[in-house]
């Protein structure tokens, strides 16, 4: 089995700070665990390819290290109470460590505190939480993802005198990751020639995003870019193709899924930052085992973000950023 | 054997806790009108429900033209030529009259329903029945009597050999009854066997050939109508003698408590009358003459379009129902299903709601509420076995008793009873009339609104006659006679036409 590491990563110092320094590190994972730990992973949901990728990461890493893993999912971003219950259930069922992809930035702090208080380390993956009781973080912030996406546009059009119009579809209103990405995107384009239309919030169901895109195209036919969730990008590519607008309007996603990756390969989607959710998942499991075994670990780390576009899509190792096509969700590793 | 079109032997039906029908034999000859007679809850509806395919017997056999049959559902019975007018209407309230009448056998043109033909045929049926009705009207908007007529019209059907009518006239006046009887006579002449359930002896005496009497689910006997007089029938039915149905009611010191001045509402023209305590005021009229609407407007159940109502000198017009009730008015609705009872609860619970309201205390002491509902049930002669039963599972007449019992749950002095005895057997009716007597003699005002003419004629001290939405006559006790009242009904009809 090929090891995924060493991997180009970024460490944040001081750890857990929102505006800390990032520095490049090379991430090395353990060869194997010394004991068959029980690790419990809590996800917001497992209904799309993104979380499937994280699932792939944690599952593969657990298998590689030889630890037991159990995955629970709350069923959606409105199910905060359910996620809390599930984390409690994790502990009740004897987890040695808990990895959480949080539904809410602040709302899990108390459970995390409780769990950490029992000596069970909690690792924050993908979404981020504000708790200071967290043992480690393996993530890149969605703020950064949104920011990178905006930055891509700003860089591309730095010389333009004409304003560039962007339709912006951040995702379901009120979800933590959505608001973070929104903030990052807006911060990046501020003061540039990029003009962002009124943000169109909406569920990440494809039909919802599709009609949002249709309406924006209708209201602003002169729009230059459509940027938003991966679902938006996937939905928009077919629409633009059918209307023959592929050449005129660029599509950007602020995170990566298999569909977006294919779209970039086929030239329908222009670019998307890769946060390598598979690696984030792997890092979180590795961190958990290191903590349990009292080994050294990097407290706050994440894979290096890079923007995947038509130009570099050929050079990227797909398996690092996306699950293999044949992967089906796995909820427990014995 | 085949002299009978329909023959049932050893029919038994068990409901949880009740033997609704116990080893009953019954036979129907072609071309005869066979009346089923018995107290409320005797098992009449249960018996015909099995003949009609609506219910399956626990044991026993049914033969149609000598062949043993077992109907899976009403449709199967209809295919065999048995049609039934049920006591609990089989009408769909949200469909139109025409759609109801032709439900499941709509005339078609090609694959599609021919609505125009359906309406035309409906109109024809009602012309025969001499009952004006709009074929397109939604059934829910019709009065109970009109619904009854629609139900009867449903049985108008080409291929039938047995017609079953379960209390078809409970909400009707003589005029409609006459038309119905003409229809029955015609069917008879065609050899159709008719099973007819009714509590009105005088009425069915006119058409019946034989009578079968049931009591407590058991067969008491079958006799030729010619051999049966009222007293024998009632005695067979109740097991005791019922000497007088209508009690003598003393009129004690009548004093006006309510004066109604120019009260009107859509369907009722301005009406003036007085309500006095210590007497029974009757309101008579044909179906649809507006007698119900008049008292409903008085109670505030339907909006009033004009006029004033004074209660003990105070203007109470326009008050909502609950304020009227608080002032001592009580209204007994003619439609126990739609606005009288909560069918999904027990008789006790239904009465308890009113008892608790009547007491007005925030907390409920169930032991004493129970005691009171028991007392009320005793008063209306509701069998103890029925009291903890869901209202939907007691027979129609017993439901009416529960409804009547509600009168006594809240303190009142003006009792407006709209069709108080629909579907109640003779024995119980006598008891209810005695209660009306007691109410009046104890100084309360009682208004009896009824389509049952003998009832209002016999009970009233004063009688208002209504026709076409107007009060056309007001009679004192000694002036009241059937002739005069009927003349008033028809005088007005002629004027109108």
């Amino acid at each position: 089995q090929d090891a995924w590491f060493p991997y180009e990563a970024e460490q944040v110092t001081p750890p857990f700070s929102t505006d800390g320094e990032t520095s490049a590190v090379t991430y090395e994972a353990l060869e194997s665990a010394s004991e068959k730990w029980n690790i419990c992973v809590s996800f917001p949901h497992m209904k799309d390819a993104y979380w499937l990728g994280v699932d792939y990461g944690v599952v593969e890493e657990a298998k590689r290290l030889g630890v037991a893993l159990n995955v629970v999912e709350a069923g959606g971003y409105t199910e905060l109470a359910n996620q809390i219950s599930q984390m409690e259930d994790c502990v009740a069922s004897g987890a040695d460590a808990v990895i959480v992809g949080a539904i809410s930035y602040d709302g899990l702090n108390s459970v995390i505190g409780e769990i950490a208080g029992q000596g069970i380390p909690v690792i924050d993956v993908i979404n981020g939480v504000s708790s200071d009781q967290i043992a480690a973080k393996a993530l890149v912030s969605f703020y950064t993802m949104g920011n990178e996406t905006g930055q891509y546009l700003v860089d591309k059009h730095s010389g333009d005198s004409e304003p560039v119009q962007v339709g912006w579809f951040p995702g379901p209103a009120g979800a933590g990751w959505v608001e973070a990405a929104h903030q990052g995107f807006m911060d990046a384009v501020e003061g540039s020639s990029i003009e962002v239309l009124e943000p169109r919030y909406g569920d990440t169901g494809k039909e919802t995003q599709l009609s949002l895109v249709e309406d924006v195209l209708q209201a602003n036919p002169e729009v230059d870019y459509l940027a938003g969730t991966a679902v938006t990008a996937e939905a928009a590519q077919g629409l633009l193709r059918s209307q023959g607008l592929t050449e005129d309007i660029g599509i950007l996603a602020f995170y990566m899924t298999p569909g977006v990756y294919d779209g970039i390969e086929r030239g329908f989607i222009e670019a998307a930052p890769a946060d390598s959710m598979v690696i984030q998942g792997r890092m979180a499991v590795d961190q958990a085992v290191r903590i349990l075994e009292d080994k050294d670990y990097i407290q706050h780390v994440g894979p290096k973000i890079f923007v995947v576009s038509e130009d570099n899509v050929g050079d990227v190792n797909r398996d690092d950023i996306l699950p293999p096509r044949s992967f089906r969700p796995v909820f427990s590793v014995e | 054997m085949t002299e009978h079109v329909l023959e049932a032997t050893g029919l038994t039906k068990l409901y949880p806790g009740v033997r609704a029908l116990d080893d009953v034999d019954f036979a129907l000859r072609p071309g005869e009108v066979h009346v089923l007679f018995g107290e409320n809850g005797a098992g009449k509806s249960t018996l015909i429900s099995m003949l009609a395919g609506a219910n399956r017997p626990t044991s026993g056999t049914i033969r149609l033209n000598g062949r043993e049959v077992s109907f899976a559902d009403v449709g199967a019975a209809q295919e065999a030529g048995i049609f039934t007018v049920f006591q609990e209407f089989s009408l769909i309230p949200t469909l139109s009259v025409a759609e109801n009448i032709f439900l499941g056998r709509e005339p078609r043109r090609g694959p599609f329903v021919d609505h125009r033909a359906m309406k035309r045929m409906t109109r024809e049926i009602f012309q025969q029945l001499d009952f004006p009705i709009d074929p397109g009207a939604m059934v829910a908007t019709l009065s109970r009597a009109a619904q009854q007529m629609v139900e009867i019209a449903k049985a108008h059907h080409g291929e039938l050999s047995v017609l079953i009518l379960d209390e078809p006239t409970a909400s009707l006046t003589d005029r409609e009854v006459d038309h119905l009887f003409e229809q029955i006579a015609e069917l008879k002449s065609k050899g159709v066997g008719v099973i007819y359930i009714s509590h009105r002896i005088q009425e069915f005496a006119r058409i019946a050939d034989r009578v079968t009497v049931l009591r407590d689910g058991a067969l008491i006997g079958t006799l030729e109508m010619a051999d049966a007089d009222d007293d024998t029938l009632v005695e067979m039915m109740t097991g005791r003698e019922v000497t007088e149905i209508y009690p003598r009611i003393q009129r004690t010191d009548p004093k006006t408590v309510v004066s109604v001045d120019g009260l009107s509402t859509p369907g009722v023209e301005p009406a003036n009358f007085e309500i006095m305590k210590g007497e029974v005021l009757g309101i008579a009229g044909l179906v649809g003459c507006g007698k119900s609407r008049l008292v409903r407007a008085l109670m505030g159940v339907v909006p009033r379009s004009g006029g004033t109502i004074r209660h003990r000198g105070e203007d109470v017009s326009g008050l909502p129902v609950r304020d009227m009730i608080a002032r001592g008015f009580y209204y007994l609705s003619p439609d126990r299903k739609a606005e009288g009872l909560d069918l999904a609860r027990t008789s006790h619970d239904n009465l308890a709601t009113n008892v608790i309201e009547g007491r007005g205390r925030s907390f409920v002491r169930w032991s004493s509420v129970r005691a009171e509902t028991d007392a009320i049930s005793d008063r209306v002669e509701l069998d103890p076995g029925y009291r903890k039963r869901l209202v939907s599972q007691v027979s129609g007449g017993n439901q009416q008793k529960v409804l009547f019992g509600k009168c006594f749950a809240q303190p009142s002095e003006i009792f407006i009873l709209d069709e108080p005895t629909v579907g109640v057997d003779v024995g119980t009716r006598a008891a209810l009339y005695r209660m009306i007597r007691d109410l009046a003699e104890n100084g309360n005002a009682v208004i009896v609104v009824s389509s049952d003419l003998p009832e209002v004629l016999n009970l009233s001290h004063r009688l208002l006659v209504m026709a076409q939405g107007r009060i056309v006559d007001e009679l004192e006790k000694d002036e009241i006679s059937e002739d005069r009242v009927l003349r008033k009904f028809f005088e007005d009809r002629e004027q109108a036409s």
């Binding site: 499937l52 943000p199 569920d203 169901g205 209201a219 | 009609a52 949200t94």
Partner: protein
């Protein structure tokens, strides 16, 4: 009577408006108001292209609402329409991908059996609902909610949440984006369905029987109607209409998704209720339901075009739904008075 007539004579224009309102109902009035308002707010609203847009977007809700109407009229609910859509999408996509792999030369054959497989899966859902409601007398709420949960789990199971991609291009090109005589194919499909449903509900025995069962199931039984069969048919047709929506949506998004149809169950019930369908059963008209669903989509489109913020859209849409029903009550009372 005479008084009313004189009343009506006076008033002129106002009275005309009043009578139109009473005759046509609230929805046409609301629709007209909405069109006027949105045309003022956005110059793009009343363009031919946008109207086609709205027509196409409304197809999905209209179809599902028509199915939902059947369930509601029969006296029940169908909370599983969203799941029927998702299951159809996943099953038809998986079948299509598989079949186009096996018979790469016969793409239309693959597309056809894919669609049929989707219909079949949804039909199964409908039949299970129907059996539960009619034979086991399970409350339609729990029955369809339970089936929805089961079906959703299975759909996710089949795909693992990953969209099924690689559908034949023709499928999307025809059913998703195709046009016939300049009219989008989904719109044509919807029109055909509307007409068929209208005939079904108002011109066939079965339609009347569905009304009857919902109006009073006991009375329907006593009127010799096979109530079980009728309920089965209502739920099966409802699932099939949802399934058709699933096929059209799959073509539109060009992938099989277990996530389709998330909130459509409530939305379709809302469309029916503002169109005057009674939740107690027995009442409802095809043409109004179409208007109800269209109204909801039109308002959403208009608000998007007028750049109303997403939060505000929730507030406005909620208020409009309530208002529509309040006005309907007012109309009902006016109708009662006018008689």
């Amino acid at each position: 009577m005479t008084r009313t007539t004189t009343n009506q004579a006076s008033g002129g224009l106002q009275d005309f408006a009043r009578r139109t309102f009473i005759r046509l109902g609230v929805l046409p009035v609301f629709l007209i108001v909405a069109v006027v308002v949105f045309s003022l707010l956005s110059s793009k609203f009343l363009t031919g292209q946008n109207l086609i847009n709205v027509a196409r977007q409304s197809v999905y809700l209209v179809l599902v609402a028509l199915g939902q109407m059947l369930a509601l009229i029969s006296g029940g609910f169908d909370l599983s329409v969203g799941t029927a859509i998702a299951v159809t999408s996943v099953v038809s996509a998986l079948t299509m991908v598989w079949a186009s792999g096996v018979f790469p030369e016969m793409l239309w054959f693959a597309i056809t059996i894919g669609i049929l497989a989707g219909f079949g899966a949804a039909l199964l859902i409908g039949i299970v609902n129907g059996i539960g409601v009619s034979y086991f007398q399970v409350s339609p709420f729990i029955m369809t909610l339970g089936v929805s949960s089961v079906g959703g789990g299975l759909a996710l199971f089949m795909t693992g949440g990953v969209p099924v991609s690689g559908l034949p291009f023709d499928f999307g090109n025809v059913f998703g984006f195709g046009r016939l005589f300049g009219v989008p194919v989904p719109v044509l499909v919807a029109i055909v369905c509307i007409v068929l449903m209208w005939i079904f509900m108002s011109r066939t025995r079965l339609g009347t029987q569905i009304y009857a069962v919902g109006g009073n199931i006991r009375a329907a039984e006593l009127s010799a109607i096979n109530t079980r069969r009728t309920l089965m048919i209502a739920y099966a047709l409802c699932a099939l209409l949802a399934s058709l929506t699933g096929v059209l949506l799959t073509a539109r998004v060009e992938s099989g998704e277990a996530n389709l149809g998330g909130s459509i169950a409530l939305e379709s019930i809302a469309a029916c209720v503002i169109a005057g369908v009674s939740l107690r059963g027995g009442i409802g008209r095809v043409e109004n339901v179409v208007l109800g669903a269209f109204f909801i989509v039109l308002v959403q489109n208009g608000m998007n075009l007028a750049q109303v913020s997403s939060y505000m859209q929730m507030v406005l849409l909620g208020s409009l739904l309530i208002l529509a029903v309040i006005f309907d009550q007012v109309r009902y009372r006016m109708m009662m008075q006018a008689r």
